[in-house]
């Protein structure tokens, strides 16, 4: 960890300029809870670190005029948790973000970093996908938006173009009767990496599911949007048959690895189990919303 330059620009244009000029030799620093570990392990050796936490847009949370939220990419999990409204509107997204590491890690770690780290097991990503969150990215050619599900390209790789920086997440407004939830399976209760993670976001009207999105983590090279699982729920009254069909869709979507955390067979089975439990929590919240 030597011979690194450090920049903490105050504007995005400055950050993008420096990041793009370094041509792949630079890394973006939000909370640093992944980057510093990777640098120490020798996995990355950036010539330049661009700290984005001095840029106001990167560290602010705003409620948009239509009732949605815009979350800066470098907002920490702790700050998001302290927002007076966010956790009431998006409890599933918040519980997913707050599962990243310990309280100490939460003081630094951000959903933007979690997404750009591109781990298939990143906890916030399935919940953001279920929430239909869209990210804004800025690069040398300007700004563009993309759905969260389109950001990861594979383990440790994203679809951001060279020089592009993740700026913020935009979460849509919530209709009445909407609820979301996130559950992950880990062998202990804290401080571990998801064996499977499942985010569900659904809307109920008079007991009938009118919209549903399911994000599934740690079962494929990237976090998945399981469209078929959502379709199986929509139009149903979340009866056992519909939920089993959604669970089957989750199992069918799994292309997991075998490793010390879980086998292919185990992860696939758990994907269905988690879907059922997560739907139950999201539906309870939707019923109260």
């Amino acid at each position: 960890m030597t011979d690194i330059r450090y920049l903490a620009p105050r504007t995005l244009d400055e950050a993008v300029g420096a990041f793009a000029a370094a041509r792949g030799a630079a890394r973006i620093l939000a909370g640093g809870t992944d980057l510093l570990v990777q640098m120490r392990a020798g996995a990355v050796r950036p010539g330049l670190i661009v700290d984005i936490k001095r840029i106001a847009e990167m560290t602010s949370i705003e409620e948009t005029a239509d009732g949605g939220f815009r979350i800066g990419a470098a907002v920490s999990g702790a700050v998001l948790g302290e927002h007076p409204r966010f956790g009431q509107v998006w409890p599933g997204v918040l519980e997913a973000v707050n599962l990243i590491g310990s309280t100490q890690v939460q003081g630094r770690a951000s959903p933007g970093g979690n997404l750009c780290n591109a781990s298939p097991a990143g906890d916030s990503v399935p919940a953001m996908i279920a929430a239909d969150a869209v990210v804004t990215v800025q690069g040398p050619d300007g700004r563009r938006q993309m759905p969260v599900a389109a950001v990861p390209a594979g383990p440790g790789r994203t679809n951001l173009a060279p020089g592009e920086i993740l700026v913020s997440f935009t979460l849509p407004p919530r209709p009445r009767g909407a609820g979301d939830a996130y559950l992950r399976m880990i062998p202990r209760t804290e401080m571990d990496i998801a064996v499977v993670g499942c985010g569900v976001n659904l809307t109920l009207r008079d007991g009938t599911c009118t919209a549903a999105r399911v994000g599934l983590g740690a079962v494929a090279p990237t976090v998945l949007l399981v469209g078929e699982a959502g379709k199986a729920l929509v139009g149903s009254r979340l009866d056992a048959a519909a939920i089993e069909a959604a669970a089957a869709a989750c199992r069918a979507a799994c292309r997991p690895i075998d490793d010390k955390r879980g086998t292919i067979a185990y992860r696939t089975r758990i994907a269905g189990v988690l879907l059922k439990r997560t739907v139950g929590i999201a539906a309870d919240r939707a019923g109260r919303a």
Binding site: A8, L29, L36, I49, G101, S102, T103, V105
Partner: protein, 171 residues
């Protein structure tokens, strides 16, 4: 050309100001210096311990602007203008221990003591955050601090003792 050299930081160093245990410091740092290494190696504040150096064990926990963070995962240059409190900064000027330090002694909440500075800083922030109402929640919210000796029951008892006495806000 001025003939008198002005004192200047080396080109690869970054100058920051940091309040450490109440004292403002101006520091010229290599950008890759972690807050933990700054405290231990440059400022001689060796109370903050290096355990895993990966953000998993919590031995390096300090209070940064009142919030608990793993100092091993924070670059010092990121903290320009911030205020850091370490285990050395908890006692009053006359040596009176912080209530959490007293409770750790009274409850025998350590054996080897290596994790203790991090446990105490973390516990003080825990009370400030005010999310833990019972022993289970204390355990969950202290899960970022690992104790190899297994002093957990006594650590929880120490935190409960301070909670019961009305606590004390983090400095």
């Amino acid at each position: 050309m001025p003939t008198q050299a002005t004192p200047q930081a080396e080109p690869d160093r970054v100058t920051i100001t940091l309040t450490v245990n109440g004292k403002p410091r101006s520091l010229a740092l290599e950008p890759w210096t972690t807050l933990l290494d700054l405290l231990r190696e440059e400022l001689g504040l060796t109370g903050t311990k290096k355990g895993c150096d990966h953000g998993q064990c919590g031995a390096c926990t300090v209070l940064l602007d009142g919030r608990r963070v793993n100092s091993c995962l924070a670059l010092a240059v990121m903290q320009d203008g911030a205020s850091v409190t370490t285990i050395e900064g908890l006692a009053a000027a006359d040596g009176t221990l912080h209530p959490m330090q007293t409770a750790f002694i009274e409850q025998d909440a350590f054996q080897c003591g290596y994790c203790t500075p991090g446990q105490i800083c973390s516990a003080i922030a825990l009370l400030e955050e005010d999310h833990a109402q019972n022993p289970d929640e204390i355990r969950e919210l202290m899960s970022g601090n690992i104790c190899r000796c297994g002093a957990y029951p006594n650590i929880v008892a120490a935190i409960e003792q301070v909670m019961a006495s009305g606590g004390e806000p983090a400095p």
